[in-house]
Symmetry: C2
Subunit: 419 residues, 2 copies
């Protein structure tokens, strides 16, 4: 099918969806959750075909794992869809009411964005996840999944369509681009007449492709070079635990710690303490010269950092940059120079240092005596998460249902005119 046809259908469906009440949308969501389990044979058979094809190409094991569905994973996907059904519906919310001196009554009303274009890679759970979030927020969505899970996605979208029809909602509200030619991505990025927002779910290359070629607004995020600065006044026990947690609890995710900055006054005591903790998980330390002088040779996994690259690397692994700084100013300047504005934090007991850090470090989330791993829609109480935005337009940090909406002004009068 031509992409413009998909776009036109999505736009028409989005108008119906925008008017659908909460009960109808929840009916579709619960039907989808049920359908994922009722159609498990078809879905798992389709997924097995994808997995077999991937194995034939000798891809890496982690990739096969990401691609693979099984019953527990389908049950989780169904549970996630059910959870979205339980969230409050943001559409129709009225806010910013005002009565103007001339008698006009004004308010804003939350409306869906319209049509989302979501480009992602080999994770079949994203298909049901994004479909559920889009549906609940009244948005139509055009999905462009990876070629590696095309069979799985087709099977999942069949189930999604059944659920939409069961709730008398248009099946075109969720459409999959089945043509996996990369040229279709570029075409999607230019479909500004029909698509209101592009959400890339993938690595740096996909984000860059979208930013460089899209004529549609793009939400960028999902990548972080995250810092924790341990101030001279920090509670060192707690700080060591925060650093340990931020680095090792899930090192492959975008809110994991990349670089530890330690004030010179406490480096000689704090660094060995945190290094002993990190040694439990064999974390490699890429140190500046001062940190290395403190840690070497007692801590064998400490080595000299490559200044040209290491401070600008998102590790996604059990590696941590370590640097000694002489002041809060130096810490802030270093973070400003190297952060991707995802998650940065301070451990300190000094209210003035905390206030300055929170004010001057301008990341999507700034943490005080807490792990960067909390930067997450679920942890922040949004109930669901579409992406973690690191850009400055529209929404920053975790994006939930509300962040998939826009608003319109409603202005009511009684024959009011303006001369």
């Amino acid at each position: 099918m031509e992409l413009t046809t998909i776009g036109r259908r999505a736009r028409a469906a989005s108008r119906q969806l925008a008017r659908a009440d909460t009960a109808r949308k929840n009916t579709a969501l619960l039907a989808l959750a049920d359908g994922l389990l009722a159609c498990q044979d078809e879905i798992l058979r389709a997924n097995a075909a994808d997995v077999a094809q991937a194995r034939e190409r000798n891809v890496e094991a982690y990739f096969v794992d990401r691609l693979t569905l099984n019953l527990p994973r389908l049950q989780n996907m169904a549970q996630d869809v059910r959870a979205v059904a339980g969230l409050p519906d943001p559409i129709g919310e009225q806010f910013d009411h005002a009565a103007l001196p001339n008698g006009l009554r004004l308010h804003k009303r939350r409306v869906p964005l319209g049509v989302l274009g979501v480009i992602y890679e080999a994770r079949p759970n994203v298909t049901s996840d994004i479909a559920a979030l889009a549906l609940k927020s009244g948005n139509a969505v055009i999905l462009r999944g990876g070629s590696d899970n095309l069979n799985s996605n087709k099977a999942l979208v069949t189930v999604i369509h059944q659920a939409l029809r069961q709730a008398d909602l248009p099946a075109d509200a969720v459409q999959l681009i089945e043509d996996t030619d990369r040229a279709r991505i570029l075409e999607l990025l230019k479909l500004s007449d029909y698509v209101d927002l592009i959400i890339p779910r993938g690595g740096a290359a996909l984000h860059k492709l979208c930013r460089d070629h899209s004529t549609i607004p793009v939400i960028t995020g999902g990548m972080g070079i995250n810092h924790i600065y341990v101030d001279a006044t920090a509670d060192q026990d707690k700080a060591a635990e925060v650093v340990f947690n931020a680095k090792v609890s899930k090192p492959t995710v975008c809110n994991a710690l990349c670089t530890l900055l330690v004030h010179a006054d406490i480096a000689a005591t704090f660094l060995p303490r945190v290094a002993r903790r990190l040694a439990d998980k064999d974390v490699e330390l890429r140190c500046d010269e001062r940190a290395l002088a403190i840690l070497s040779p007692a801590y064998p996994l400490a080595r000299l950092a490559n200044d040209a690259t290491d401070w600008d690397t998102e590790w996604l692994a059990l590696i941590l940059g370590v640097k000694v700084v002489d002041s809060l100013d130096e810490a802030i300047a270093f973070i400003q120079a190297h952060t991707m504005e995802h998650s940065d934090g301070i451990c300190s007991q000094d209210p003035q240092a905390i206030a300055r850090f929170v004010s001057e470090v301008d990341s999507s989330a700034v943490f005080v005596n807490a792990s960067t791993r909390f930067n997450d829609g679920g942890q922040f109480g949004l109930g669901a998460e579409v992406a973690i935005s690191t850009q400055r337009i529209h929404a920053r940090g975790p994006m939930g249902l509300r962040e998939l909406t826009s608003y319109k002004w409603v202005c009511e009068g009684d024959g009011h005119v303006r001369w």
Copy 2:
């Protein structure tokens, strides 16, 4: 100067500006207002050179008028800058406080967007206007004005720089691209490392250029194909006044009326009534066949509309499309097909019709028994206006100071970790 140098300086200045307190920003604004008058000779001399060059090229009179500064206009510009100084400072506002069950304390804090890139045409007042709004909202700005008022803009930016220095703020917070080669616009649109938002202030061609070429988010807006639907239940006297006002009060602006839709049940009485009113201003009516049958020959300025083009034209002139519809559904479908989602309205006394119209017509502002001309930052109580956005991302409708901000999440704990 290289654009990357301008960008780097803007980024550095934006960091200083983000930390500036309200008093310091207001000091700069008041110094700017004073400077516009104190330096009137230099500014008006520079402007006279621009005007003379424009006249030599035999441009149209309205263009020369837009370009021209004089003392009353400078006084207005100074007054506008003073008004911005009087507005509340959005930066640092804290909102959405939450205490999570695990004891983490969460809030959002309003921060500047960073660096704005504003591309505009021959209106020197935009220079001081945008500089003031950017400064108050803590954003640095790179200005790319039209070549036609380069001399005026240089003189104005000199005054702006003096004002910034008087308040100990970096002059690089407001920079003008003096090279008027059009290629510089394309370069600015790719400066995503240093610019956070592009705001075009100009016509459709400029907006399209920005959308097609920018790797930076673009606020589009400032254009409208606006409708008023007069329902069968409308108070016809009030409706005629609303239509008259929306069409004639300022026909060259983006919130002026383009197309009138009238319910068939009242068309025979309402159309002659509103046509007589519009005849006072010699408004030409482009009618569908049914409307023309009612209006012709009594109303000589009525003629048959060109279905292929007239319903999709932003008139910006004393021309009005007129069409008879048989139902609310037809009116809504017609508006959905032709609106640019700027300003659309209904005149009706029927709460159900009003509710459906407000729900299904999804424009940046929807009006009930009120003129579309109210879609304006000043009228809506924002105090100032950067643009009227017709896109769905970030902000819709009038954009004031708050709409030039982003936010960050601040998460405070006491050694909190996440496993």
